[in-house]
Symmetry: C2
Subunit: 398 residues, 2 copies
């Protein structure tokens, strides 16, 4: 990794990702280990005309100490100043850039899973989801490779290899990454239009231990990389992004699904996760490791155990093509079809969110369920069966 790469990544996040505008208030969030990129993004945001940039740091070790020592009834509390920050960003049409890339992906693996799962700032998560659904801020998520993360991915702290993989997935290997992103966004938009034209009612995922049906609303619409704020500013919420997604009817998920990739969740790696749905609700959680963290998380919120998103990704995905499991949802969810339990996205339904079945929750956890062994089909509202993915190959014309 060179300073130049870091600067170009920051510029891309600011100009294409969040699309920071002159006069905006900007939050750049990351772990203390991400300081080098936080600083580059702060510089790029000021260069783009930001009025004020908040470098907002999290500390996984302070969080660990909280889980170890804090009283049980305080674990889900949000400090009021964090709500003020989230609300100020929304009120002032602010921007946010979030940096992930866990330097110690199993830092919390030795702690009691139920306490780990319960330690979530629920009010903050609600407020943040409200900002997303009201399209109140322009935001994006990016990632900062660290040695610890590289070790989790490759078994050795090969930082350069991880940077190469990340740079490829975010198109920083291109001569003109901005133009490459424009083309990529357009390509996903064509896929969105094709899916929306079909009028889908149900999706089916079959193979590799999964047999899952996911029912949609008549008003479900597919969305791609292009997002627009309530005041009309375009932005790209994740870099990388390879998915098209929609909001399911949370009452209509049935069957069994087996994760096709490990899930990094709250300082734990959940391996071999299997979920069983009945009447839309997750009624059974099993895993080779980390099942108690998922159960602890689901217990924090009445509606966490219902689906909020279903997304399709095919084998052309640059993330998938790296062949790397990143142990980071920003990447792994863009290598494979996925579902998310927890909150649904308002932008992925037409008009007002339906009163019933539109899932509202402080949780939103993506779970990879696609791969070459999983066939994906749809049934249209007028009863036609439509194959969508075979062997990870997209079956519709883009």
């Amino acid at each position: 990794m060179t300073d130049d790469l870091l600067e170009r990544y920051a510029e891309l996040a600011v100009r294409v990702g969040a699309n920071v505008q002159p006069g905006q208030l900007v939050e750049v969030g990351g772990l203390v280990e991400h300081a080098a990129l936080v600083r580059e993004v702060a510089r790029a945001a000021y260069r783009a005309g930001a009025r004020y940039v908040e470098a907002s740091y999290g500390d996984a070790h302070a969080r660990r100490a909280r889980i170890e020592h804090a009283p049980d009834d305080t674990l889900s509390l949000t400090p009021p100043w964090m709500l003020t920050r989230e609300r100020t960003l929304a009120r002032e049409h602010g921007a946010a850039i979030g940096i992930s890339g866990d330097p110690e992906p199993e830092l919390l693996a030795d702690l009691p899973g139920d306490r780990v799962g319960k330690t979530r700032m629920v009010e903050l998560a609600d407020e943040s989801m409200k900002n997303v659904n009201e399209r109140a801020i322009n935001w994006t998520g990016i990632a900062f490779p660290t040695e610890g993360w590289a070790r989790a991915v490759f078994g050795s702290p090969d930082l350069q290899r991880l940077w190469d993989a990340v740079a490829y997935t975010v198109r920083l290997d291109e001569d003109d990454p901005v133009a490459a992103w424009r083309q990529h966004v357009e390509r996903l938009e064509r896929r969105v239009e094709a899916l929306n034209a079909l009028g889908l009612d149900v999706l089916r995922f079959r193979g590799g231990g999964s047999d899952l049906t996911v029912g949609l609303f008549p008003s479900s619409v597919w969305c791609g990389a292009r997002a627009v704020t309530s005041w009309g500013l375009e932005y790209v919420p994740n870099m990388p992004t390879e998915e098209v997604f929609t909001t399911p009817d949370a009452r209509r998920t049935e069957g069994v699904v087996r994760a096709t990739r490990p899930l990094a969740l709250y300082g734990n790696v959940v391996r071999g996760l299997e979920l069983r749905f009945e009447g839309g609700r997750i009624v059974d959680v099993s895993a080779e490791s980390g099942a108690d963290v998922v159960r602890g998380q689901l217990a924090t919120d009445e509606r966490a155990a219902f689906l909020g998103e279903v997304a399709l990704v095919d084998g052309t995905s640059r993330v998938g093509r790296t062949g790397v499991t990143f142990f980071n949802t920003l990447f792994d969810e863009n290598a494979a079809c996925h579902i998310a339990y927890g909150a649904a996205y308002a932008e992925a339904v037409e008009g007002e969110p339906p009163a019933e079945g539109f899932n509202v929750s402080s949780v939103h956890t993506d779970l990879m369920i696609g791969g070459p062994e999983v066939e994906v089909d749809a049934v249209t509202r007028d009863g036609r069966e439509v194959p969508l993915l075979r062997q990870d190959v997209w079956q519709l014309h883009d």
Copy 2:
């Protein structure tokens, strides 16, 4: 430096410094470069029973970008969430531990001094000073040695040498640092009692280029290391601390004073600072370097150019005995007599703060003016002259 030393330092800051109590809300503030100590303090605070510990990080490079790029009329703005944090701590009887130790003491030296001096969160400084004066929180300041700081001090990144010096000043070299602190605090209390018994009216600093008189209030009282919150909790606001201090009548400072040590201020080192006071106000600022930073700072606030504190330190000071200039006010102010321009402390006057002459400001900058070459005398309210320091030796019986 060993992990053990870091843990003992954190314990001392939590148990003796801030004196964190079970159920308290605690803020631990530092730069991202201080993460190792922030984490130890967070752990120690949770062990002491804290309900929630906020690891609150600043970033000098994001601040630098703000100074370089942000619109001129935004430089002194405080983001509203920082006020929420400060007010929540006060309302909930919270605690705060601040970590200093600049890894790049001249990071901002190449930027325009007036913009550097103006870039201060004025509302936050006001709120924070209000919390101090209303004795609303139990707090302390400590420091974290870094290679960059060691380089500024010794000319080479001799981290171990800096740790040794810091450990000595905060009595971590003692077998029982807690007992050593108890004795030290008592010794400063006896000095406070002796000064208060004298009924002083004026202090004079003469020698080494200074000839300064500082007038006190009839209600000025001397204070030492022991502080008490409004609800009766004892704490020690700085570690190290070697001073006794009081609040002057801001209208009654006259003459010239020459700094005896460099002053690290906003990423600059101010060397050879000289101030001239007339009718209590600083009317002339000169320096070998950094004068424009001081002038920029004074210009942010109507009352910044008046005195808010005067403090006495003698040659028994452990900080002074190290012979080290730390380029860090927490240390350097405890090696020598000092004054501070800007806000006065309410705890250092008896009863309500006087309506006139009690200085209220968002600035509080300490400036070292003592040393073996400076004679310090006082005049009592009944007209007696009392020598206080000669050749850095305390002239009163402790």
